[in-house]
Symmetry: C2
Subunit: 195 residues, 2 copies
Amino acid sequence: MGTVVSSASMSLDGYVAHPDDTPGALFDWYDNGPVEVRTAAAELTFHLSEASAAHWASWVAELGALVVGRRLFDLTDGWGGNHPLGVPVVVVTHRPPSGWAHAGDHTEFATDVGAAVARAQQIAGDATVGVAAGTVGSQCLDLGLLDEVSIDLVPVVLGAGRPYVTCSTTQVLLGDPTTTVQGDRVTHLRFPVRR
Amino acid sequence: MGTVVSSASMSLDGYVAHPDDTPGALFDWYDNGPVEVRTAAAELTFHLSEASAAHWASWVAELGALVVGRRLFDLTDGWGGNHPLGVPVVVVTHRPPSGWAHAGDHTEFATDVGAAVARAQQIAGDATVGVAAGTVGSQCLDLGLLDEVSIDLVPVVLGAGRPYVTCSTTQVLLGDPTTTVQGDRVTHLRFPVRR
């Protein structure tokens, strides 16, 4: 089975969004470079630095499925059934939407994190399962389901917001970063979780 | 005047200590390497990796004074009047201790952060003023007194604790790191604050 990796852009004080769920300066690096990067969503094209473009290409290439929470699903309307990363999405929710306009093969629903990760791994085969940071990623960390933590560290202090890690009550040791890539207004870091 | 730099070891979720003020795994990098580094405190010797030892030497060489809060002063008993970094310390407190056993030339008291930084800059001359992360560092950030943010990023998730940044209510932009040094269980990062 492929590895399970949480991922998000994060401020120096550990937030992945402002309190109102907007990313603000956290997403500046998606649109401040010379390299045009088309995504699986027709309306979304990034403009990345050379370094971030190479890092992004590598991330897209290894991904086989995503696990996200209901909040992110609702905020994005499930990316219209077509996630920019171009892989199937498994949504953790106790109440799957009925009659959702974009229901289809690329979006599934699971009632808990464990089931969602298991299903995503089934879909992904040997490819990586990406897990949204925040509640879902933290639950995976607490449950021992997370193999790696990927952080796009952005040089900004938000002061408040949605934390990358929530509600974890026990210390979790990770290893030194296996990836350190400096982009423009982002440092891409990836840490293995120690078991 | 020298630059004002906040500094601390920090977990991936933004904490500089556990809730009980102990550092736990945050300080592992001070004692996991082959390079013996003596400090200005006779009883304290570090054992650093080659990379961290070079980074540490550079930090010690540039420092001229420190600003710390009353909590840290009390927790360490003011380092017995002799801080391991070997520079004078200015403590922010509304109630300077009377009859403190280690009172002397190396420790002063100031009633607010602005006065403490001004006094530390006076002592340091062209050398750097180091500011403890947490309450004091965050007040400096809010007041626009901070030139750089230094983070010894440790691959651990604490889940709870004392945050590096507290109580800041406005977004503060920083620049990309001017220093990125990989040690053993620590990544040394330093970010300029944008004005």
